[in-house]
Symmetry: D2
Subunit: 290 residues, 4 copies
């Protein structure tokens, strides 16, 4: 019997790493972590959110994104997708990051890297994508512009301090429509708009990722299960957590090219020999970053 | 004494992998492969080429990029940078790829994925970025539009079949200026423009990468040498090839943030505990793809 | 009493021109055509559609735009907005045009300019923005890929040959949800998705333009009405159709800058003299194209 | 004998307007102002500068544009091209404007609109495109970061206060290479880089616009001369300054489509009747803004 771990809470890579490297002596069966497939993490997280973040924003608020200042907390795959979508829609995007490499990537795309404290009172739209907790606290919210929009597309609803907001003395919640609430602070009479009660806004306010990108994710899961089933007696997989083998990751991508009218180039034998890559792949080493 | 391997020929990841995994019993000293640092491969290769490809094209040919059809052979880091630059300058970009994952990435950016044979007679600009040999052959060149521009920014000059071109019966070479040659085929009287004699066009026709991105690459080398020197007696490094430890890769990035006015966010203790990431980093597992 | 003409059917500029130039001796009152204000035509049509086209597509179909081939018929202000939105979302965009100037503009943005016949069987998404009739005929629809999406954001529902579709022998209409129908051809058993029954898809499938851009349009109307009222006895306006005076067009824009945190520069007296432009504007001549 | 006015100093539209509207009784011959052709002002100024601004920057300084903060003074056609090029290359762009409509356009593209005073000490690259004088004064320069780059692509060298700089007490000029000077202030020992001595940097530091866009401009001139010659005895043109007739402006564009592989759509007779536009054009009214 096969177990497949589907892990979608971005930013928690360390736990995944712990799992893949630890001795899972207590694991009863082998498992494949498909969240770390390229065709999952770089597709679902990046391209999926690039689509579904503006979708959620528009369905929930009908706000014009062009001309606005948006803060994206976190610039991992999810944050990259969100920042790209907002920038392309005409917003000016400010990124917050703890990781200097991701921060430098944001800068290379023309995005400003600031702390939340720097930007809190000038931004119109806030999106959390960190996979960490307590990113936007109620004290931040009180300093925001009237009708600033706060949403989370990272992991749990604790990226936004919903508890602090709900228990703020005298705060008033006005439900504009399901999944879209305006919260008014008594002292300033100024309000903020919170999407999906702080939970994943693309699920709460839109319909999640589009089917094409989910097809990549689900194909990962099915192919992983088939692989575990096929190899169930071979001893290829011990009772550990693996990432999907590269050639299967590539197969997931290959299965989706036809729909988009792409035509792949074939390696010739002499080219294959020259770069020591098999004609049928895998074409990249495990650590390749895409 | 420390050895640092600086490897810049993109696309040859397999050989790097071989080196890092093989038993380098014959290696006299430990070594660090800085080519696979994030702040090298994702910066020098990607952002460097995004800058220096159009720079080389403009200096060599003064051609207007907007409105042209450009073929980028290969969509690794170098190809991604080149395709982004050409698209942003207003070209319509067609990508050729052997790797279905990279091909799908190109499609997600709105690029067309075709074979060279499909596109050879409609494109105005060709760029090779594959790290493989014999990508554009003399038979391709003969089918190109008059004054199509051919350039290589991948690795050696064998990405372009210079030998086939030079020995083509009756072909005529007209040097427009140093590093920019027009080659005329006797049968069609039609010519192509070859940059930098098929060698790296950003070096041959422009001044290579800008100093900021090279600073990232050189900082990698210096930090690697310092690390090897510091640990020379500690036994931390055996006589193998290593990648730069993640915290040093992050340090390279951190050293470059101030120049660009960025302000990093600091993890709080409770946040650090929550995601099991040290406050001072490293912030990502080794396999993280950025 | 004031009459304000609000004209929103893009592409019909000729009729507007006829009106503004003709002797409207039969007009009982002066009128201002605010559709030709810059802050209407270049904002509502361009930025409004850039926002509401993907909004409508996503709400109606949840289709992933990235990787798809999209045909935009017409590259006026509406078409420019639609093409920009689709390109930015990761589609490959093909433009159809009758006007060589607009066609050349499309090319300068890296878009392909083809006829509908060239592209009909390879595209996934079709958008009409022409202001003309009979752009996508039922014969085109029959050649489209299965589940190609057809929508109109131009003017009336006659841009798409709804009559031809509805009366096609044996065609079957399957309503997926209100404003989203799949039409299946009996001979091929292949279907197309028609949005909003061929009417304006941003109104039918989403909520139209966002409030910020509509505020620009409505401010035009109000300011035009105030101007006509103020000048009702002055003889400034005869019984003709006028465009909004430039200084009022600029006032519309100025009223919207504060919301977006912009800070305008002031001309100094000597600069004003140097370029013969009043310090308070208007800053451009009537024919300026922005 | 024909006179053709070629006017390239952007931002001076008022003077052009004066000329086209004034009674040029003293004009000995009819003239056509081709600067206001769409295929000149919207092509040469916009797309030309989008190409030649980064070209000039890279040739003069080899500076990495990605990650930098750039100030573009003026957001007319030239400014729009410059801002687009800098943004696409990965800079964060701040626009200064006096005209609220152009300012709002900048905001809609995600650019920040500030005064020069706001941005002077945080920017790395300054570009003047205003067509006005005294935009960047020596007092601004003294507040800039060390090695900030100052360049003008607008009109005369008085957009930048070269006189103030040259006569600043104790200032030291270090010529890095022709057309690239570092000026060091004695009090701060900090220096700025001035390109092309404040004159047009794309001409001084690069080779000006690429031939394709100049071909549009020159075709305008030739067609204007042919038109004046053809009509020299017909009385069509009085001794005034005209803009190029729309159908000739469209002809300029049409002549450039083939090179880029475009295929135009033809109006059908019934479509032509429906929108009252001749099959052969002109397709837009004179005031259309493109």
């Amino acid at each position: 019997m096969a177990l497949v771990v589907e892990k979608t809470t971005s930013g928690r890579e360390y736990k995944v790493k712990d799992m893949t490297q630890a001795d899972f002596g207590h694991l009863e069966i082998p498992a494949i972590n498909v969240n770390d497939s390229v065709t999952k993490s770089k597709f679902d997280n990046l391209y999926g959110c690039r689509h579904s973040l503006p979708d959620g924003l528009m369905r929930a608020t009908d706000v014009m994104i062009a001309g606005k200042v948006a803060v994206v907390a976190g610039y991992g795959d999810v944050g990259k997708g969100c920042a790209a979508a907002l920038k392309q829609a005409g917003a000016r995007v400010i990124v917050t990051e703890i990781d200097p490499i991701c921060a430098l990537q944001a800068l290379m795309e023309g995005l400003q890297v600031q702390t939340l404290e720097d930007a809190v009172s000038e931004a119109d739209i806030f999106v959390t994508t960190t996979g960490n907790k307590d990113i936007i606290m109620v004290d931040h919210m009180r300093k925001m512009k009237n009708n600033a929009i706060i949403s989370n597309i990272g992991h749990f609803d604790n990226e936004i301090d919903m508890h602090g907001l709900e228990t703020y003395p005298g705060v008033k919640r006005i439900t504009i429509k399901p999944q879209t609430d305006r919260w008014v602070f008594p002292d300033t009479n100024s309000g903020i708009i919170v999407l999906a009660e702080g939970r994943l806004m693309n699920l709460g306010c839109a319909t999640g990722h589009p089917s094409f990108v989910m097809s990549c994710s689900f194909t990962n899961q099915v192919i992983a299960q088939l692989e575990l089933w096929k190899e169930k007696g071979s001893g290829k997989y011990e009772k550990k957590v693996y990432v999907l083998p590269k050639h299967l990751d590539e197969k997931v991508a290959a299965l989706h090219l036809g729909k988009l009218g792409a035509r792949l180039t074939k390696l010739r034998k002499d080219q294959s020999d020259y770069i020591s890559i098999p004609i049928e792949g895998p074409y990249k080493p495990a650590h390749y970053r895409y």
